[in-house]
């Protein structure tokens, strides 16, 4: 009987891990999209003079509305992530959005990708791999 319970527990852990990985991937995707949208929205109102005019033009952007939707989705998804794993596990992994946004802005805005930045990208991926190989969630030492 205990074998059956153990198998069920293992399956549950695996399902949760896949859930966390999926939600984290969505976090990185949404984060990258939000950064690019932000950049796009700012670029379109660049020639505004003064802070007031800039803000007004920014708030009237269709892209600004898209940003609000993105932020709400990011918040809900992030709470899902936090309900399933340690903060010190998931937070460093979100640094992957530096990698995706570097590639995306190279592709979309023709930004230059210098060798030092490629080295940085490799280090981030290595670090995320190391953090990712630790336990997602451990029992708290005392009150959480």
């Amino acid at each position: 009987m205990s074998d059956v319970y153990e198998k069920q527990a293992n399956e549950l852990t695996t399902t949760r891990s896949i859930g966390v990985a999926g939600a984290l991937s969505l976090t990185i995707l949404l984060d990258t999209t939000a950064q690019l949208t932000w950049k796009g929205a700012v670029t379109q109102v660049e020639n505004a003079s003064g802070v007031g005019e800039f803000l007004l033009a920014f708030l009237h952007q269709p892209l600004f509305l898209a940003l609000i939707v993105l932020f709400v989705a990011m918040f809900l998804n992030w709470m899902l992530v936090l309900s399933r794993a340690d903060l010190s596990y998931v937070q460093p992994i979100t640094a992957l959005s530096y990698v995706t946004s570097s590639f995306a802005s190279t592709y979309l805005f023709n930004d230059h990708l210098p060798p030092v930045r490629i080295l940085g990208i490799c280090l981030i991926i290595l670090g995320v791999w190391i953090v990712g190989s630790t336990h997602q969630e451990r029992p708290c030492l005392s009150e959480c």
Partner: protein, 124 residues
């Protein structure tokens, strides 16, 4: 106080607020009793159970946004951007001492390597 100092101060306080915001959101998640197994019901139920913590967390984010924008107006991006990565260290320390999470050596090494990578990407 010079413009440079003012910018550095804004960026530093922004980083602290961001970390505190994350801690508040994680506290809200930890304190909630989660009965739903998946989907959007989980975040919605956390917000319903811990509105105060969630409110505090989101307020911290708002402060971060304002301070970050101020910092960017005082200093060049190549200085402000890598400063954001200090966040990784602050978060690790606060996770250990406020949330009582177990930080293993492996996790610390991983975060250190990510930090180096983020600084390289941010300054180049």
């Amino acid at each position: 106080m010079s413009v440079r100092m003012l910018g550095l101060a804004c960026a530093t306080i922004a980083v602290v607020f961001e970390a505190l915001g994350q801690i508040a959101l994680k506290k809200a998640a930890n304190r909630s009793v989660i009965t739903a197994t998946s989907g959007w019901r989980i975040p919605v139920s956390i917000v319903a159970q811990q509105p105060l913590m969630i409110g505090m967390g989101l307020s911290c984010y708002l402060m971060t946004c304002i301070l970050w924008t101020l910092a960017l107006s005082f200093l060049p991006v190549s200085i402000v951007h890598p400063m954001g990565s200090i966040d990784l260290i602050v978060m690790l320390v606060l996770s250990r001492f406020i949330l009582h999470e177990q930080i293993t050596v492996r996790r610390m090494i991983g975060v250190g390597i990510i930090l180096a990578g983020v600084i390289l990407v941010g300054t180049n």
